[in-house]
């Protein structure tokens, strides 16, 4: 068994990164210009076309209210992609910063941050989500808030664990001895070393967030009909999975492809960083 092979960075990491960046870019552009691409009005209902199979007019068929699934998937891209990416970005930054500070400084800073995280993390997410939805009402922003309140803690904990483990490494001691400030060590020395696993985690979280927001709609909170959003589309059509599978599969496949692109993107980021670390 040759375990050293694995150290060598993947060849063409940068090419792949470019490829998936372009794919992700296409997704973002698509979501922006979606209204122009939609062949039908995504909100137009029609009792004559309930659960119609895919056809030239309706490329992905129609749902239980006779709405064009394809147009709704296109329209839903904006809501679904934007909300998940924004949510992960915000929670990632906040969580990582707090986690690093916590791990590096220790003491009272650590106690305060981690106890706060503890309280939020110990909070059953469902109770929190339903309370948020109940107090503030449903809708996209509140669903994001419900997910985000606890979302940052996972990054904080991971960052803290990484910092704790790295803190004792020789290169950190070296940096400290060479007179670098705490902030410099945290951002120049520690951050690059811990970013790999954290970004992999964040890329997975984009998917989890999309799926999580979809889960909220199963519980009857989160995004309301008739707004086109993939999670609520899947949820509202799931009863028809045997009759009109396209109404579920359309948004489901869109979700899967999007999540995969972001996962692959995270992977490539990691590979590229490996290459750079190797150099």
């Amino acid at each position: 068994m040759d375990i050293l092979v694995d150290k060598s960075p993947r060849k063409g990491a940068k090419t792949r990164l470019t490829l998936f960046l372009i794919l992700a870019g296409i997704l973002v552009v698509l979501s922006v210009i979606a209204p122009k691409l939609a062949p039908n009005d995504p909100y137009e209902i029609s009792s004559a076309n309930i659960n119609a199979a895919p056809s030239a007019q309706y490329p992905m068929g129609t749902d239980r209210l006779g709405r064009c699934v394809f147009s709704r998937v296109l329209m839903g891209a904006r809501t679904s992609i934007f909300s998940a990416v924004a949510l992960v970005a915000i929670t990632f930054v906040i969580g990582s910063l707090l986690g690093m500070a916590s791990g590096w400084y220790g003491g009272i800073v650590d106690t305060l941050i981690m106890r706060f995280a503890d309280i939020l993390l110990a909070f059953p997410q469902m109770v929190l989500a339903i309370a948020v939805a109940g107090i503030l009402g449903g809708g996209m922003f509140n669903a994001m808030l419900a997910m985000g309140i606890t979302g940052w803690t996972i990054y904080a904990r991971l960052a803290r664990a990484q910092v704790l483990a790295l803190k004792r490494e020789a290169f950190v001691d070296a940096a400290r001895l060479s007179g670098c400030s705490s902030l410099a060590i945290m951002f120049r020395t520690l951050l690059p070393n811990m970013l790999g696993p954290m970004i992999v985690n964040a890329s997975i979280q984009i998917g989890s967030m999309m799926v999580g927001i979809a889960g909220l709609s199963f519980l009857g909170i989160g995004i309301n009909e008739p707004q086109a959003e993939w999670g609520s589309m899947i949820n509202n059509s799931r009863a028809y999975i045997q009759l009109a599978p396209w109404a579920v599969l359309g948004p489901a496949i869109a979700t899967i492809i999007t999540v995969m692109i972001f996962n692959y993107l995270g992977d490539c980021v990691r590979d590229v960083m490996d290459v750079e670390a190797g150099e």
Partner: protein, 309 residues
């Protein structure tokens, strides 16, 4: 260590007070009246007089702090109270649901670990091979399916089409299988990715190349050093996941009619059954702190580097 555990216990009390208060406040602020819920259970209109009487009987007409204080005093005497919905003891309800949730949590965790530990290792070692690509594809796939879709698909294909398992599952191991699998699909997908990343991270550390240069056998390095060092992160991931599993999974429990904590919590929230919600929140706080305690103790056990903290 005893002192450390003692400190954590005090910490637990703090969290429980903060959480119980926050929950009470949140539920108090959220619209929804337990008396209305109770009376409206079957969609029958209630007269305002009846409603007032019931609110009074349930103590809902009292000010917020009185309600909370009353509840907190009772808890201090070891009494979690009775459910608004059916008058059963909250402790009994939680204990019963916990039993089912524990089976589901352990079952799905076991399945996930059995699959993802070897696959995580394999994909790290065979990095960039076709095997790595295929497995990665499936992990991404599994990770992007909403839980209810996995559950409904599993049920449709395994129970209705193939008739391998019953839809109306009893509470046996056979009945446990399907919900456990449904829960473990996304879990495996996450684990494999995370384990792979962690092992790769370790493999790229200087001690590995150092040991190889010194002529230490690969197998030895892998099992003695790499896995050993990776196990910190793996344990963190596993224990955090286990902790969240112990809160129950509403979706899977509802679809597979598994009477666990998730279902109980969801029902209690829908019914605004404050005593049960409170009991549930306290319980998850205990689980959370315990899981973390266990994780930290395991850290100390496995990695002497953190022992000094």
């Amino acid at each position: 260590m005893a002192k450390y555990i003692g400190k954590r216990m005090i910490h637990l009390v703090g969290i429980m007070i903060a959480l119980s208060f926050l929950t009470f406040l949140l539920m108090y602020l959220a619209p929804g009246d337990p008396a209305v819920k109770k009376l409206n259970a079957q969609g029958i209109a209630v007269s305002p007089e009846v409603l007032e009487a019931v609110r009074k009987e349930m103590g809902l007409d009292r000010p917020f702090f009185v309600q909370y204080g009353d509840w907190a005093l009772k808890v201090l005497r070891g009494d979690l109270g009775e459910s608004y919905k059916d008058g059963l003891s909250v402790a009994d309800k939680l204990a019963k649901a916990l039993g089912y949730t524990a089976q589901l949590a352990l079952g799905s965790m076991l399945i996930s670990l059995l699959i993802s530990l070897p696959l995580g290792m394999l994909t790290a070692l065979k990095k960039d091979s076709w095997l790595d690509y295929v497995i990665r594809f499936f992990t991404f796939f599994g990770n992007s399916m909403p839980n209810f879709l996995i559950s409904v698909l599993l049920m449709y294909f395994l129970c209705v089409k193939a008739r391998l398992l019953p839809v109306v599952a009893d509470r046996s191991l056979k009945g446990l299988l399907l919900p456990a699998v449904a829960l473990s699909v996304p879990m495996c997908s996450r684990f494999i990715r995370q384990f792979r990343a962690e092992i790769l991270e370790q493999l790229s550390r200087s001690y590995v190349s150092g040991a190889v240069t010194r002529g230490v056998r690969s197998r030895y390095i892998l099992f003695r050093n790499v896995l050993h060092n990776a196990s910190i992160s793996i344990l963190t991931i596993v224990s955090l996941t286990l902790g969240s599993l112990f809160g129950g999974s509403v979706v899977v429990e509802t679809i597979f009619r598994w009477p666990g904590l998730g279902k109980l919590a969801m029902d209690s929230i829908t019914y605004r059954d404050y005593p049960v919600i409170q009991g549930f929140v306290l319980f998850t706080a205990v689980v959370y702190v315990m899981v973390n305690l266990f994780t930290d103790i395991a850290y100390h056990w496995i990695d002497p580097r953190v022992r000094e903290d």
